[in-house]
Symmetry: C2
Subunit: 289 residues, 2 copies
């Protein structure tokens, strides 16, 4: 496994792999967990070579968010990636990614200002800008993202289509811990009590899925059921709990299979998010220890 | 010379050329003149193959601008390109470039809202978006632009650098008619009287160059000299007449060699623009017929 720490080295290493075959890219912010490794293994199956970028992208953090304290563990990440079969690990330096005078931004209007975008202004412009850069630096055949960050998968797919980017976007299912909590690097922030509270998100999604499977199609009823659970368990309103169309986040009166139940809520000082495509199985999960 | 009229065909033809050598791209809006052909010839010299796109990009026109009446002449363009040695001519369909739901935009803040951007809100977001698309569709080794559209060359270079696009931007000198008027597809709009008035722009630039060569360094003095000429000859204020730094359009008190004198003014119903890098020769030009 090669490890590179400059843009020039990353570019050269990726170009060399691309010259002789297909290249799968897994963009990450590090602090890797089983969810990331699932993406790496999938990329391993589908490509001649696999590159993983590790870059905590300042552009997608708001001024009062957790950029500074976001977990970083380069040695641990490298060991996990070696085990998962990555060929290239690219730790990208922020000063090379955003040198002085860097001003170009990508944006998508309403797609970037709803849901997570409403809670985190500028977040998706930052995501799109860095993903565009990573695609240009690494020129992957395929790029792998987790369904956990559902809105991110939608805006990245939209960007690729709108800008005719020569890359295939592959979205992999959310990985969950045995108790049902969606895996996230930010779960490291949770105390045991907060972690138990955080299960309210997957419980809410499970209830929406149960109602949908039983025939409930009213979007309002499905959303109300989720909000009630989140309010009861977290004792404050969720940031959002909605059932949205997977293409444009529209909310028609009646829900359809494939519509996505999305939830986000603060749990202690941490913001958690999760989602579930209605119609698919969710759980059951085993209670925690 | 191959002619293609769909995105898929354009993509395949460019990929085929790229697989066996370098590819020069000349993005145009058609209605070609000697300025465009200079770019094609330069691309011809520097690359194994040359592709020219012809696409009147609706995204870079304001709602009350000349998108509908912008000159179009596919047969004439194809004949000129054959003569200049293009290998691929790509007439791109607007409904494939911007299908329903297309929302992704590129922008650069102040770089896109000054000078031409102040007169044409959204213009450069439209330019950057289409150029990004063309780069992804054609994957050129080099792309050629005329210095006539000075601000465009700055924002395109900035985009390529900021987003790590794997393409070299080549800027070629402005071509002028014998009387000094900068070549532009929009010159076709001018009556003979308007054309004579339009020479005020190059006269103003020539005066700034004359003063600069004589030692004048005060930006205010250089700008005032240009504005006076434009006001005298056109009998209304120019949109702008400024001396700007070539990187960020800043206007320091003292001008330096390489700073760019930029002018734009309405001439009859037509808006003309021109520029000149201070220190370089400009003219003399022969009077018109």
């Amino acid at each position: 496994m090669e490890v590179h720490r400059s843009l020039d080295a990353a570019r050269a290493a990726c170009a060399s792999r691309r010259a002789s075959g297909t290249l799968g890219l897994v963009p990450t912010m590090g602090a890797l967990h089983e969810g990331h490794l699932t993406l790496v293994r999938r990329a391993r199956e589908e490509n001649d070579a696999v590159a993983v970028t590790v870059f905590v992208n300042p552009l997608q953090f708001g001024p009062h968010e957790d950029y500074e304290r976001y977990p970083r563990d380069e040695a641990g990440d490298a060991a996990l990636l070696e085990g998962a079969g990555a060929d290239l690990v690219l730790f990208l330096p922020a000063d090379e990614m955003y040198p002085p005078g860097h001003v170009t931004r990508l944006d998508q209007g309403a797609l970037c200002t709803e849901l997570e975008g409403a809670a985190r202004p500028g977040h998706f412009a930052g995501v799109l800008t860095v993903v565009c850069k990573l695609f240009n630096i690494c020129t992957p055949t395929r790029a792998y993202f987790g369904h956990k960050d559902f809105q991110q998968t939608v805006v990245v797919r939209r960007m690729v289509e709108d800008l005719d980017m020569p890359v295939e976007v592959v979205v992999c299912p959310t990985r969950r811990d045995p108790d049902g909590l969606a895996m996230s690097s930010r779960n490291a922030y949770l105390s045991p009590a907060e972690r138990a509270e955080g299960l309210a998100l997957v419980t809410a999604l499970g209830e929406a899925q149960r109602l949908f499977a039983a025939g409930e199609r009213s979007r309002a009823a499905l959303e109300a059921a989720m909000q009630r659970i989140l309010l009861d368990r977290l004792r404050r309103p969720a940031d959002y709990a909605a059932v949205v169309s997977p293409d444009d986040f529209s909310r028609p009166e009646l829900a359809h299979p494939g519509d996505v139940a999305v939830v986000a809520a603060p749990v202690g000082p941490t913001r958690l998010l999760d989602n579930h495509a209605l119609g698919a199985k969710l759980g059951p999960f085993s209670p925690g220890p």
